[in-house]
Symmetry: C2
Subunit: 388 residues, 2 copies
């Protein structure tokens, strides 16, 4: 029997049941599309629901079914190093993260999941707590690069399934990232062999970003093995931001250093800064110095010169991340040992996870040759530049 009386509180399943003259079980069944209830019953319930404007409570549902239908997404909030205003709205940087989130969301919606987003500030002291709170509110977590230490990652992974983007992975944490090594090697080859540059440099991103490490190492190694010189080290340590790129170039120039013939940046954002600093000193790109990026954010082809870069399937990364997470959620919790690695978009299948390693999805990337490396301008993207 019903125990609650109808108040002016939001209606519950009891109110619906009473109104329709059935038990709450029946209401629940039509709510969940079970086919038991006979049409007549179903209609009465549906009618009651409509009349009452009833909406089932997500929390109660979650508690009872042990599924919240919510996945958390945590990413880093960037407070651009304010370089005096020009890059104050480095918020454009967020495009990258937001784009990934969009990818996650699209797929999530298909599965009936919603996104609980949370941007964090790395130097926040209570970060682990914050993330744990989020974890308690969802069925699984997708963490962007650089939001948690490996240890922290492992800790969260003990609570809910976790997928890490462009990050470490392992230890119950699945990883989704895009190919970096091959494309950076290809880039090095392009610069050295096709353009004949002999003196290169790589401006790094955050030193603790796995992706950054791979990019730098692949690029430098390949360049050197082709007989070119490749500058790296502290003087070339950036931080994925445009401001960082500006600083490095300014510093070098003010020291009177001879710039390399080509500078490969850890990401487009950094390249933007480099372009800026170079222009500031009247240097021509690619005439005096060639510059390349990584990511292929929308603005890359609106720059002048258009930026040569490596395209990442940004949105796909998000989509894949959700797929993986979802399978972790529906199967048992921990990152399955099924080394189901691969993936295409270009049809490629990159095998790389050693058998029975944690899930590690690697998406293909592609070198986009535009003007900044010294290639001829792309006739397909002209007029925009007239106004930008």
């Amino acid at each position: 029997m019903d125990t609650r009386s109808k108040t002016d509180n939001p209606p519950t399943i009891y109110d619906v049941a009473r109104r329709a003259g059935v038990s709450i079980a029946s209401v629940s069944r039509v709510l969940n599309g079970r086919d038991n209830p006979r049409p007549a019953t179903r209609d009465r319930v549906l009618k009651a629901i409509a009349e009452l404007g009833f909406v089932p409570d997500g929390a109660a549902r979650a508690l009872s079914s042990r599924l919240k239908h919510v996945v958390g997404v945590v990413f880093r909030r960037v407070y651009g190093t304010d370089d005096g205003g020009t890059f104050a709205d480095e918020a454009e940087n967020l495009i990258f993260g937001d784009q990934i989130n969009r990818g996650i969301e699209i797929v999530a919606q298909r599965y009936g999941y919603d996104l609980l987003v949370c941007s964090v500030n790395i130097d926040e002291r209570t970060l682990p707590n914050r993330i744990m709170t989020i974890a308690g509110k969802c069925d699984g977590l997708i963490l962007h690069d650089q939001v948690l230490s490996p240890a922290g990652l492992a800790a969260v992974a003990r609570v809910v399934p976790v997928v890490s983007l462009a990050g470490a992975g392992g230890d119950g944490v699945a990883a989704v990232r895009s190919e970096s090594a091959d494309s950076m090697r290809e880039l090095a080859r392009h610069l050295v062999q096709d353009h004949g540059y002999r003196r290169l440099a790589y401006i790094a991103g955050h030193a603790d970003s796995p992706d950054n490490v791979v990019r730098g190492r692949s690029f430098a190694t390949e360049a050197r093995s082709l007989g070119a010189e490749c500058l790296t080290g502290p003087a070339w340590q950036g931080d994925y931001s445009a401001a960082g790129g500006v600083e490095i170039v300014r510093g070098l120039i003010s020291l009177g250093a001879t710039l390399p013939r080509a500078i490969a940046c850890a990401n487009d954002q950094t390249a933007l800064g480099v372009l800026y600093a170079l222009a500031e000193h009247g240097l021509d790109v690619p005439g005096d110095v060639a510059v390349t990026g990584f990511d292929d954010l929308p603005f890359a082809r609106h720059l002048r010169p258009q930026l040569t870069t490596v395209r990442q399937p940004i949105q796909d990364i998000g989509a894949q991340a959700f797929e993986v997470l979802h399978s972790m959620i529906t199967s048992g919790q921990p990152a399955p040992a099924t080394s189901s690695v691969d993936v295409d978009a270009t049809g490629d299948t990159l095998a790389n996870a050693p058998a029975d390693a944690a899930v590690d999805i690697v998406l293909p990337t592609r070198l986009i040759r535009r003007e900044s490396c010294g290639c001829p301008p792309d006739p397909a993207t002209p007029s925009w530049r007239r106004i930008v």
Copy 2:
């Protein structure tokens, strides 16, 4: 007494209680920072929590405390009208929405809330259902402009507190928007009086967007009252997108129409398209035609010519929206009749809600005069343009 046995499932409050040798009530108390538990007890509990890696379940908490500590944010997903590629990544448009969300999130975090985001496609047929589902998962909802019909809005508002952005409001729905009328009138005056233009036009946004209506009417009325001509109507009906702006201008030119001396656009995005189309035909801005926008998105000052526009405090809109929603959540559900209207950022206090009307916050905007209206270039933003 404990009823559950420790399995390998995620630990619950019962496991913690058993381990610490206390009752679940005590665990709950330390979890919630009550000061009852004496230090010794608290420590035992804390220790147990740490050892077990316990994280309280959000759903259970929500169910029990009747507060989920989650607010939903619904906004429109834009699939840019693909104009052949140039504006394919009109995703940049999303910057506007994402920026607002960022504002919401920052404040939400301060109150211990997280954001459940959901982007929707207007022509989605199950939209109302989707939104209701979201509503069931949170304590309140913030709806961006153009995601729901007034009727739909009212329906959701009966379930959870709702704040609508730049939208309708009323009927239990609070609204937060930014001032449009005054700034558009000021813009009209600037164009007519300061620059002496006599023939103007206003390219509208979505016809059903309240903001758009106000902008257009204010602009036209003011312009006309100053003796200038102002073209409006079907030929000038845009849709807030760059592609829309392009189309209109192309159409007009192909018809051999004489363009007005100045074109005010409903938003920056549209202005971008207009600039593009004008450049396409070799017309000079502001020499041949002056163009203005609305929003002041980051790219506005990176364009050439720099775009004269009206700045909206985008992030503040989000922040205010959350504040309002939060007060609705903590007080009674419905949008309080307290006409607490106002707000500054510039210190201004705009009074406008008729007494006992629904909450309606209006944030101040500001006309930003740059080159595209005919004003001299701003010497403060130069060098960037060398590379963009």
